[in-house]
């Protein structure tokens, strides 16, 4: 019988293959502290692909596209499994979209998108390593500059 480092959940979402160091950031994105059902977080798990990986299992929650897009920016290798009655009913890799709207703050403090309730818009110029160009002020951001809203 296969041994699981992190127990199975009956219904909900499993985010696997998270870059180990980004696990708690992904937990923040998913706002796990406000979940009422079971939440399991594993770190430092063995991974052929990543060396060490993180995994998060959230009972009773189907993660939405905005959360998937945010996760893609900080854990580009992550996979999402939707679980129903202990079975995987849907599985997909996160993917960085071409345009990122309203989820990343432009790092330029003088950018108009940081004022007047303007929704931030960043065009993805490179996916790996990630490079984003602000639609408004044209500044280029790399992974270290990303601040999620």
């Amino acid at each position: 019988m296969k041994h699981l480092d992190v127990s199975a959940i009956k219904d909900g979402s499993v985010i696997d293959h998270i870059d180990n160091k980004s696990t708690l950031k992904v937990a923040d994105i998913l706002n796990i502290q406000n979940e009422e059902q079971v939440v399991l977080v594993g770190m430092n798990l063995k991974s052929k692909l990543l060396g060490k990986k993180g995994i998060i299992k959230i009972g009773g929650k189907i993660i939405d596209q905005k959360e998937v897009n945010k996760i893609a920016l900080i854990a580009p290798n992550a996979t999402v499994n939707i679980i129903k009655d202990y079975e995987v009913v849907k599985k997909f890799n996160v993917a960085v979209p071409e345009v990122i709207e309203g989820i990343v703050k432009c790092f330029n403090p003088n950018c108009v998108s940081n004022y007047n309730n303007v929704t931030s818009q960043l065009n993805v110029v490179n996916k790996n390593p990630i490079r984003l160009e602000c639609h408004y002020c044209e500044r280029i951001m790399s992974a270290k500059d990303i601040l999620l809203i």
């Binding site: 432009c106 330029n108 003088n110 950018c111 108009v112 998108s113 004022y115 007047n116 309730n117 303007v118 602000c134 639609h135 408004y136 002020c137 044209e138 500044r139 280029i140």
Partner: protein, 308 residues
């Protein structure tokens, strides 16, 4: 086919070489006539949220020389902005009063925001430290006019290359024309690394130096910018560098330079260019400022669609 009809002019990056040359050719035609009435039914809204002399007046002069009318303000303190109105609301309302908006604003990206919310063309007349595309068009026009061509020149950019938006845009545009570029600045005011990397990616030969000595004889053009005292934490450091970057007739006579060297400056100058230069054949910065009118006439005519 090149068409500027109803296009926004936000960033020099939005234009290819053919489009840049199209505006320069049109500007040449515009210089032949001082007044026409091709824009007689058009109204330009000149919205300046930041101080300006050359850009605002040359846009207004250009519009009036084409027979058009100008509304607007040069001090946002007397508008609803002072009551807390957002930029988005301001331009949406003003859109109903005019055919084209010229906008200068202290926030970077403000012209793009305005262009996104209105259905008439928006021309960026400077958005913070980001872009000032019509300045780049007139810089190119001045270089082309005084050097005879844009291809294959060696350009020295001198002064504050870190914060100078005109330098970044002009370097980007000159890369289309095979220019070799020397960036001459104090260490703390160097050209941003991203800009240098981008130029190198575009196969531009570019070099960084801290003074003109040793390279002055190679230059066809010097594009000089103001070194701002407020950029230096230590006033002693500022005093050390200001002399090195202060061009004068005597300094040029001591350096080895090409006889047909041309010196440009987006102005205003403070003390980085001595008045002794003004009457030399090297100085073209006052012509450069004057070229704002034909270049902006060309842009207004092309965008408002009276010239196809």
């Amino acid at each position: 086919m090149v068409s500027f009809k109803q296009r926004d002019i936000i960033s020099i990056r939005h234009f290819n070489k053919e489009e840049l040359l199209y505006i320069l050719d049109l500007a040449k035609q515009m210089e032949r006539t001082t007044y026409t009435d091709t824009l007689k039914d058009k109204i330009l809204a000149s919205l300046f949220f930041e101080p300006s002399t050359r850009t605002r007046l040359s846009f207004e002069s250009a519009m009036q020389r084409l027979g058009g009318m100008v509304i607007g303000f040069a001090d946002s303190g007397i508008t609803s902005v002072a009551k807390g109105e957002s930029l988005r609301d301001s331009v949406k309302i003003i859109e109903g009063y005019c055919d084209i908006i010229v906008l200068r604003h202290y926030l970077e990206g403000s012209a793009q925001l305005a262009a996104d919310v209105v259905n008439i063309p928006v021309i960026n007349a400077g958005d913070g430290a980001n872009q000032h595309p019509t300045q780049t068009f007139l810089d190119l026009y001045t270089i082309q006019k005084t050097k005879g061509a844009l291809e294959g020149l060696t350009i020295g950019f001198l002064g504050d290359l870190k914060y100078g938006r005109t330098v970044h845009s002009l370097a980007y545009a000159l890369a289309y024309f095979g220019a070799e570029m020397f960036f001459i600045s104090p260490p703390g005011l160097r050209m941003p690394r991203d800009s240098i990397d981008e130029l190198k990616d575009r196969k531009v030969k570019c070099y960084e130096h801290e003074s003109l000595s040793g390279i002055s004889k190679k230059l066809d053009v010097i594009y000089c910018t103001r070194i701002q005292k407020e950029r230096f934490a230590d006033p002693v450091e500022f005093e050390k560098v200001r002399g090195v970057y202060r061009l004068s007739k005597a300094m040029l006579e001591e350096l080895e330079i090409k006889k047909d060297l041309k010196i440009l400056h987006p102005l205003p100058r403070v003390d980085e260019m001595d008045e002794s230069l003004d009457k030399t054949n090297y100085a073209v910065y006052f012509h450069q400022a004057r070229n704002g009118v034909p270049v902006r006439k060309a842009i207004l005519s092309a965008v408002l669609g009276v010239i196809e």
